[in-house]
Amino acid sequence: MTAEQRHLVTAGTVLGIGLGGFVDGILFHQILQIHGMISARVPKDSVVNLEINMFWDGLFHTLTWLTTALGVWLLFRLAQRREGRLSGRAFGGALALGWGLFHVVEGILDHHILNMHHVVERLGVSIYDAAFLAFGVVLLAVGGLAIRSGVSVRTSR
């Protein structure tokens, strides 16, 4: 892998982490409302507890936004330094890799070790937590394969 490809994969992975965090925060925390940031510790069963969870959701979204901004900056810096064409497949793979990485790390840390929340809070630790991790592993595999394919196609040209 050349330095250019490595920078592309790094920028894509960081962006993927940020975007994966936003999928979690927007879909699970806000639209479906099946858990909040600390809903295993402070159940969302009253206005007070909802607002407390909302505060910690806000901190989570702040860090997710900063990670996304870092990914955009890395990508912009790469675009400034190079004039060559970049592999879309490798970049897409890196996005998937970052998203998968988010699922695996956040799933293990927040759902199982720190006991912050679970995917479907009313069920506690459930099959959905395992599915969350499994989806992350699938994304890691798909992302890794796409990066490998994109990098080899680009290098062989």
Binding site: T2, E4, L63, R81, V105, E106
Partner: protein, 98 residues
Amino acid sequence: MKKNLWIPSACVSLLASTTVWACPFCHTATGVAIHAGIFDGPFLATALATAAPFPVLLGVVAAFHFGWHPAAWMRNRARHDRPCNPTAHNVPGNTDDR
């Protein structure tokens, strides 16, 4: 007043106005309970737990980028800081980093 001072002055005026601070929850029993729930509990521990995945994730990405071994990390950092040769990547068959 200079034209470029209008924006910060307007912002300060808006933030100083009472309507900004007219939070319907803040001065009620509910607001006090929310404030206590956030700040009177284990605030630092919860903040650290909320932030915990991000340094781990960025650490993994940094390890992928610079290498897992500290020596490889230093070598790649040094290579990373070296000035870029703008024509190197246009040479056919060149897969050198810079």
